[in-house]
Protein backbone atom coordinates (compact mmCIF):
# COMPACT_ATOMS: atom_id res chain seq x y z
CA UNK A 1 0.00 0.00 0.00
CA UNK A 2 1.63 3.27 -1.12
CA UNK A 3 0.77 5.21 2.06
CA UNK A 4 2.30 2.58 4.32
CA UNK A 5 5.48 2.67 2.27
CA UNK A 6 5.63 6.45 2.55
CA UNK A 7 5.34 6.40 6.32
CA UNK A 8 8.18 3.89 6.66
CA UNK A 9 10.41 6.13 4.61
CA UNK A 10 9.63 9.22 6.65
CA UNK A 11 9.11 7.78 10.13
CA UNK A 12 11.39 8.19 13.13
CA UNK A 13 12.95 4.73 13.37
CA UNK A 14 14.40 4.18 16.83
CA UNK A 15 16.80 1.35 15.85
CA UNK A 16 18.23 3.39 13.00
CA UNK A 17 18.79 6.42 15.23
CA UNK A 18 20.18 4.31 18.06
CA UNK A 19 22.80 2.80 15.74
CA UNK A 20 23.90 6.24 14.61
CA UNK A 21 24.26 7.43 18.21
CA UNK A 22 26.21 4.37 19.33
CA UNK A 23 28.64 4.80 16.45
CA UNK A 24 29.07 8.50 17.21
CA UNK A 25 29.80 7.82 20.88
CA UNK A 26 32.21 4.97 20.16
CA UNK A 27 33.99 7.09 17.60
CA UNK A 28 34.34 10.08 19.91
CA UNK A 29 35.18 8.51 23.28
CA UNK A 30 35.62 4.76 22.77
CA UNK A 31 38.79 3.54 24.47
CA UNK A 32 39.30 6.79 26.41
CA UNK A 33 39.38 7.44 30.15
CA UNK A 34 37.59 10.53 31.56
CA UNK A 35 39.74 13.63 31.18
CA UNK A 36 38.42 17.00 32.28
CA UNK A 37 40.44 18.81 29.64
CA UNK A 38 38.89 16.77 26.81
CA UNK A 39 35.27 16.42 27.83
CA UNK A 40 34.15 19.63 26.09
CA UNK A 41 35.54 18.42 22.80
CA UNK A 42 34.06 14.96 23.29
CA UNK A 43 30.50 16.15 23.90
CA UNK A 44 30.77 18.47 20.92
CA UNK A 45 32.05 15.64 18.73
CA UNK A 46 29.27 13.29 19.81
CA UNK A 47 26.46 15.74 19.07
CA UNK A 48 27.94 17.02 15.81
CA UNK A 49 28.68 13.58 14.43
CA UNK A 50 25.22 12.38 15.45
CA UNK A 51 23.48 15.35 13.81
CA UNK A 52 25.54 14.98 10.66
CA UNK A 53 24.57 11.31 10.28
CA UNK A 54 20.94 12.00 11.15
CA UNK A 55 20.65 14.70 8.51
CA UNK A 56 22.05 12.26 5.94
CA UNK A 57 19.00 10.06 6.49
CA UNK A 58 17.21 12.73 4.49
CA UNK A 59 14.02 12.47 6.52
CA UNK A 60 11.70 15.46 7.08
CA UNK A 61 12.59 16.02 10.73
CA UNK A 62 14.02 18.71 12.93
CA UNK A 63 16.40 17.10 15.41
CA UNK A 64 17.56 17.90 18.93
CA UNK A 65 20.59 15.94 20.18
CA UNK A 66 21.80 16.24 23.78
CA UNK A 67 24.87 14.53 25.20
CA UNK A 68 25.80 14.22 28.89
CA UNK A 69 29.22 12.93 29.90
CA UNK A 70 29.78 12.41 33.59
CA UNK A 71 32.84 11.26 35.44
CA UNK A 72 32.29 8.13 37.53
CA UNK A 73 32.92 8.81 41.17
CA UNK A 74 29.99 7.13 42.82
CA UNK A 75 27.59 10.04 42.35
CA UNK A 76 24.08 9.25 41.17
CA UNK A 77 22.59 10.67 37.96
CA UNK A 78 19.06 10.61 36.54
CA UNK A 79 17.66 11.97 33.31
CA UNK A 80 14.07 12.44 32.14
CA UNK A 81 12.23 14.18 29.35
CA UNK A 82 8.73 15.31 28.48
CA UNK A 83 7.47 16.43 25.11
CA UNK A 84 4.53 18.27 23.65
CA UNK A 85 4.52 16.95 20.12
CA UNK A 86 2.68 14.84 17.57
CA UNK A 87 2.57 11.24 18.81
CA UNK A 88 1.93 9.87 15.35
CA UNK A 89 4.99 11.38 13.67
CA UNK A 90 7.56 12.38 16.29
CA UNK A 91 9.95 10.18 18.25
CA UNK A 92 12.89 10.01 20.60
CA UNK A 93 15.70 7.69 21.47
CA UNK A 94 18.13 7.62 24.42
CA UNK A 95 21.40 5.71 24.38
CA UNK A 96 23.34 5.01 27.57
CA UNK A 97 27.02 4.16 27.28
CA UNK A 98 29.68 3.69 29.93
CA UNK A 99 33.20 2.54 30.52
CA UNK A 100 35.30 2.30 33.71
CA UNK A 101 35.69 6.04 34.16
CA UNK A 102 32.63 7.76 32.71
CA UNK A 103 28.98 7.67 31.70
CA UNK A 104 27.69 9.03 28.42
CA UNK A 105 23.95 9.56 27.85
CA UNK A 106 22.73 10.77 24.49
CA UNK A 107 19.12 11.70 23.70
CA UNK A 108 17.74 12.41 20.25
CA UNK A 109 14.35 13.99 19.57
CA UNK A 110 12.95 13.98 16.04
CA UNK A 111 10.09 16.39 15.32
CA UNK A 112 8.35 16.00 11.97
CA UNK A 113 8.12 19.07 9.80
Amino acid sequence: HPFVFLSCQTAFVVDEVSTIIKESVEGAIGGNAYQHSRVNQWTTNVVEQSLSQLSKLGKPFKYIVTCVIMQKNGAGLQTASSCFWDNTTDGSCTVRWENKSMYCIVSVFGLAI
Binding site: T44, Y63, A75, S81, S82, C83, W85, D86, I113
Partner: protein, 124 residues
Protein backbone atom coordinates in the same frame (compact mmCIF):
# COMPACT_ATOMS: atom_id res chain seq x y z
CA UNK B 1 -1.63 33.47 4.77
CA UNK B 2 -5.33 33.00 4.31
CA UNK B 3 -7.55 31.41 6.91
CA UNK B 4 -8.50 27.87 5.94
CA UNK B 5 -11.97 27.19 4.66
CA UNK B 6 -13.73 24.16 6.00
CA UNK B 7 -11.92 20.95 5.19
CA UNK B 8 -8.58 22.42 4.10
CA UNK B 9 -5.33 22.72 6.04
CA UNK B 10 -3.81 26.02 7.05
CA UNK B 11 -0.11 26.08 6.26
CA UNK B 12 1.91 28.81 7.89
CA UNK B 13 5.56 28.56 7.09
CA UNK B 14 6.38 31.30 9.59
CA UNK B 15 4.93 32.21 12.96
CA UNK B 16 2.79 35.33 13.24
CA UNK B 17 4.54 38.48 14.45
CA UNK B 18 4.72 38.37 18.23
CA UNK B 19 4.17 34.62 18.27
CA UNK B 20 7.74 33.44 18.61
CA UNK B 21 8.99 31.17 21.38
CA UNK B 22 10.43 33.63 23.89
CA UNK B 23 13.52 31.97 25.36
CA UNK B 24 14.20 34.58 28.02
CA UNK B 25 10.63 34.45 29.32
CA UNK B 26 10.75 30.64 29.45
CA UNK B 27 14.12 30.78 31.19
CA UNK B 28 12.77 33.01 33.95
CA UNK B 29 9.71 30.82 34.42
CA UNK B 30 11.69 27.58 34.64
CA UNK B 31 14.35 29.09 36.90
CA UNK B 32 11.67 30.28 39.33
CA UNK B 33 10.10 26.79 39.32
CA UNK B 34 13.43 25.12 40.12
CA UNK B 35 14.37 27.61 42.83
CA UNK B 36 11.04 27.11 44.51
CA UNK B 37 10.62 23.34 44.08
CA UNK B 38 14.19 22.36 45.00
CA UNK B 39 14.65 24.76 47.89
CA UNK B 40 16.15 22.64 50.68
CA UNK B 41 16.07 19.45 48.59
CA UNK B 42 18.69 16.72 48.86
CA UNK B 43 19.63 13.96 46.45
CA UNK B 44 17.99 10.65 47.18
CA UNK B 45 18.90 7.67 45.00
CA UNK B 46 15.55 5.98 45.47
CA UNK B 47 13.53 9.02 44.46
CA UNK B 48 16.06 10.48 42.00
CA UNK B 49 14.48 9.11 38.84
CA UNK B 50 11.06 10.06 40.11
CA UNK B 51 12.21 13.62 40.80
CA UNK B 52 13.65 14.12 37.32
CA UNK B 53 10.41 12.93 35.70
CA UNK B 54 8.25 15.03 38.03
CA UNK B 55 10.28 18.13 37.17
CA UNK B 56 10.20 17.34 33.46
CA UNK B 57 6.42 16.93 33.35
CA UNK B 58 5.85 19.99 35.54
CA UNK B 59 8.12 22.24 33.48
CA UNK B 60 6.63 21.06 30.19
CA UNK B 61 3.08 21.78 31.42
CA UNK B 62 3.94 25.24 32.69
CA UNK B 63 5.89 26.21 29.57
CA UNK B 64 3.02 24.95 27.40
CA UNK B 65 0.75 27.49 29.08
CA UNK B 66 2.92 30.37 27.90
CA UNK B 67 3.97 28.96 24.52
CA UNK B 68 2.66 30.47 21.29
CA UNK B 69 0.58 28.32 18.93
CA UNK B 70 2.20 25.79 16.60
CA UNK B 71 5.22 25.21 18.82
CA UNK B 72 6.30 21.70 19.81
CA UNK B 73 8.18 21.46 23.11
CA UNK B 74 10.95 19.16 24.29
CA UNK B 75 11.89 19.36 27.96
CA UNK B 76 14.97 17.52 29.26
CA UNK B 77 16.00 17.25 32.89
CA UNK B 78 19.24 16.01 34.44
CA UNK B 79 19.31 15.51 38.21
CA UNK B 80 22.56 14.45 39.84
CA UNK B 81 24.14 13.99 43.19
CA UNK B 82 26.66 16.72 43.92
CA UNK B 83 29.98 15.05 44.64
CA UNK B 84 32.19 17.44 42.74
CA UNK B 85 32.40 15.09 39.78
CA UNK B 86 33.13 16.43 36.35
CA UNK B 87 30.09 16.74 34.10
CA UNK B 88 29.48 18.29 30.71
CA UNK B 89 26.23 18.65 28.78
CA UNK B 90 26.14 19.65 25.13
CA UNK B 91 23.19 20.05 22.82
CA UNK B 92 22.88 20.82 19.12
CA UNK B 93 19.92 21.06 16.84
CA UNK B 94 19.09 20.71 13.20
CA UNK B 95 16.27 23.20 12.87
CA UNK B 96 15.30 26.71 11.80
CA UNK B 97 17.19 29.16 13.97
CA UNK B 98 14.86 31.97 12.89
CA UNK B 99 11.88 30.48 14.71
CA UNK B 100 13.21 27.78 17.00
CA UNK B 101 14.94 28.45 20.29
CA UNK B 102 15.76 26.98 23.67
CA UNK B 103 16.07 27.97 27.32
CA UNK B 104 18.31 26.54 30.06
CA UNK B 105 17.91 26.71 33.83
CA UNK B 106 20.20 25.29 36.50
CA UNK B 107 19.96 24.70 40.23
CA UNK B 108 22.67 23.53 42.60
CA UNK B 109 23.08 23.05 46.33
CA UNK B 110 25.45 21.00 48.52
CA UNK B 111 23.58 17.80 47.76
CA UNK B 112 22.27 17.89 44.20
CA UNK B 113 22.37 19.71 40.89
CA UNK B 114 19.64 20.00 38.28
CA UNK B 115 19.79 21.10 34.68
CA UNK B 116 16.66 21.79 32.63
CA UNK B 117 16.69 22.45 28.88
CA UNK B 118 13.48 23.41 27.08
CA UNK B 119 13.45 23.50 23.26
CA UNK B 120 10.63 25.24 21.39
CA UNK B 121 10.27 24.08 17.78
CA UNK B 122 7.92 25.71 15.29
CA UNK B 123 5.86 23.42 13.09
CA UNK B 124 3.69 24.42 10.21
Amino acid sequence: SLPGDSGSNTYKTEPEKGCLFKASKVQKLVQAMLDSYLDGASYNAASGSHLSQILSDMVKSKVKEISPPRYKLVCQVVVGQNRNQGLRVASRCLWDSQHDDFAVAMFQNHSLFTLVIVHGVYCE
